[in-house]
Symmetry: C2
Subunit: 113 residues, 2 copies
Amino acid sequence: MPSATDQDRIFAALANATRRELLRLLRDDGPQPVRALAEHFAMSRPSLSEHLKVLREAGLVSERRVGRQRIYRLEAAPLCEVQDWLGPYERFWRAKLASLGELLDRIPHEEAQ
Amino acid sequence: MPSATDQDRIFAALANATRRELLRLLRDDGPQPVRALAEHFAMSRPSLSEHLKVLREAGLVSERRVGRQRIYRLEAAPLCEVQDWLGPYERFWRAKLASLGELLDRIPHEEAQ
DNA sequence: TTGACGCGTAGGGAATCTCCTACTTATTTT
DNA sequence: AAAATAAGTAGGAGATTCCCTACGCGTCAA
């Protein structure tokens, strides 16, 4: 493949449970150095560094150096792009949920008889 | 790896431009047999079949046999799950866009001077 | 029934992913 | 200055991805 698009990089970054958990930690606990993040994983620290690199290259986190630490911070902008991509599909699952709703509405009626 | 979760399968399925384009075609042009889908790609048809398999295993498409054709249809429910996953991040990019908005609001003022 | 069609599966090759254990670099502490 | 700390990089093993060609299976047409 010639070159990955931004979208490719974003979706690929999200396609891994460790990386999604990293994003969640940065969201819920705020910016943190690598060491603090690493405490939540069984994985080796260098492996985690590489996951952070993937997130960085997708624009999902940013890094700022403080002494010998590197504080990682969540950058949610690329997720906005995911949201936008999702938009045109929304009516499809709304349609599904609506017809499920109708179905569920009918059950109590029948039980009431 | 022990076993991929539903989320893993969904995000991984979306992490490929060909598969996202397949979903778009099914969304915009409705349910279609493989042959019709294949016309939009330079790729070999068997390769496309495998992409469809990945989408099927993620629950993003369903298949129904009609004669010797298999009609694929978009199933958007898993995308609803993506939407839900995105929810807790929303306030982060809203915050970013808001402060960008303030910044942009200021420019015309300064130019008006 | 023979051949063409629509589609999936098998098997394989190149590239990429995900993990590891060293090792390097930069900074802080003693 | 030496040791310790924080984190990235190098290199490699094993699994997975993504593409291909060849082939098998079921269905329809001649």
